[in-house]
């Protein structure tokens, strides 16, 4: 069972100016980080439960906390995965999704099964690590989510590019 209370409490503690402005001693800063990390664990379960309920599917959801530094083990290893994009704004947004992937050709489909334009960018900084980033534009409704599916194409698939059955819909 999930629980957001520990994260609530950690966030409340972190309202202290020491945590906001960085004026704490190192061991206190380490403890702030510990409280946040421990609070996030049960909250992640809560979010997974909510997503399962909303999407009607009991998936193992993965939260890539290091996406800002282009690290996400699932997208870097899986040949096929789904991307749930949640929009907390009260208006529709179009947003560029960036996911670290291994090199290859990918097929991205929107919630209606239509193929979405995507690019695999090998940036100069990631080239040495055999890592690329998959980019596609996601359209997400107000206060809602969209589920996009991503498939790594084999060389034969890439040539044929046949559309597959539509993935799970979303709202």
């Amino acid at each position: 069972s999930g629980n957001s209370a520990p994260l609530n409490e950690a966030m409340a503690v972190l309202q202290h100016h020491d945590a906001v402005s960085g004026t704490s001693r190192q061991h206190v800063a380490d403890d702030y980080a510990r409280q946040l990390a421990e609070g996030w664990g049960p909250c992640e379960v809560l979010l997974s439960n909510a997503l399962a309920w909303l999407s009607g599917s009991k998936d193992v959801f993965t939260f890539c906390l290091n996406l800002n530094i282009s690290i996400c083990p699932l997208s870097q290893k899986a040949a096929s995965f789904q991307v749930t994009v949640y929009n907390p704004l009260a208006r529709k947004v179009d947003w560029m999704v960036r996911l670290p992937v291994t090199k290859g050709v990918f097929l991205v489909r929107d919630p209606n099964g239509r193929t979405v334009q995507s690019s695999v960018v090998v940036s100069p900084s990631t080239e040495q690590k055999d890592l690329s980033e998959l980019l596609f534009s996601a359209s997400v409704p107000a206060l809602g989510f969209s589920v996009y599916s991503v498939d790594l194409l084999t060389s034969r698939d890439a040539q044929a590019r046949t559309p597959k059955p539509r993935p799970k819909n979303s709202s």
Binding site: S21, S24, S55, K58, D59, F63, Y86, P88, V121
Partner: protein, 281 residues
Amino acid sequence: SHILAIENEYIRATFSPKTGLLVEIENLEKNLVLPVQQAFFWYNASVGDRISSQASGAYIFRPSQQQPLPVRRWAQTQLVKTALVQEVHQNFSAWCSQVVRLYPGQRHLELEWTVGPIPVGDSWGKEVISRFDTSLETDGVFYTDSNGREILERRRDYRPTWNLNQTEPVAGNYYPVNTRIYITDGKVQLTVLTDRSQGGSSVRDGSLELMVHRRLVKDDRRGVGEPLLESGSGAWVRGRHLVLLDTVQTAAAGHRLLAEKEVLAPQVVLSQGGGAPYNLR
């Protein structure tokens, strides 16, 4: 010798072929062109001087001199262009780099900077800033927000409610920036949105700066009892500045909507798919 530029239907950003630095932003929709030189600098942190023994520390920002030093006067650049993104990768030094990015349909320029670990082997505390220098005649005035709510006018070397005797020409003009800072000449406005709270200022007319990272070697004796110096090699910081060039009349609509999108950004969750159907029972 070729002009290095990225552009979409709304924005064009031009970089100097000699230095690799951003030198001009153009709003193609409104026909606005603004020479903007953006680069990274660092203030040498004070360890105390003749006037005051106050050192720069976790609580106190006190540079030893008014002029910051450039991290480097030029950047090694690489250009990436695909149908969905255009990027200029700028490498200033082993501890300072940046990606300037444009997506199709985007009305702002995205600057993703990576700074750290700041070297302090020379025993000099360093406070790193990203600075935008323009030709705008701002007359000592700039604007910062207060928790994303009010935008407050800040006037250099001035406080609205008392006669200020300015003793710190740089730090005394620094203000909190929660989500945005901007300068304007009454016609054109250059706005920079931040992805986190930072300190910012306009130390000279037409200039705008934000502090992105700092690493100090001396405690400021304000209660922490240790210098702002991470153990080990030091911290890496990565963040984003979103830059908007607009007319004064329409700038607010642009930065308010964009700031909402930044603060309440979409969240991404991945799954393998093919899970069992779920119902409440």
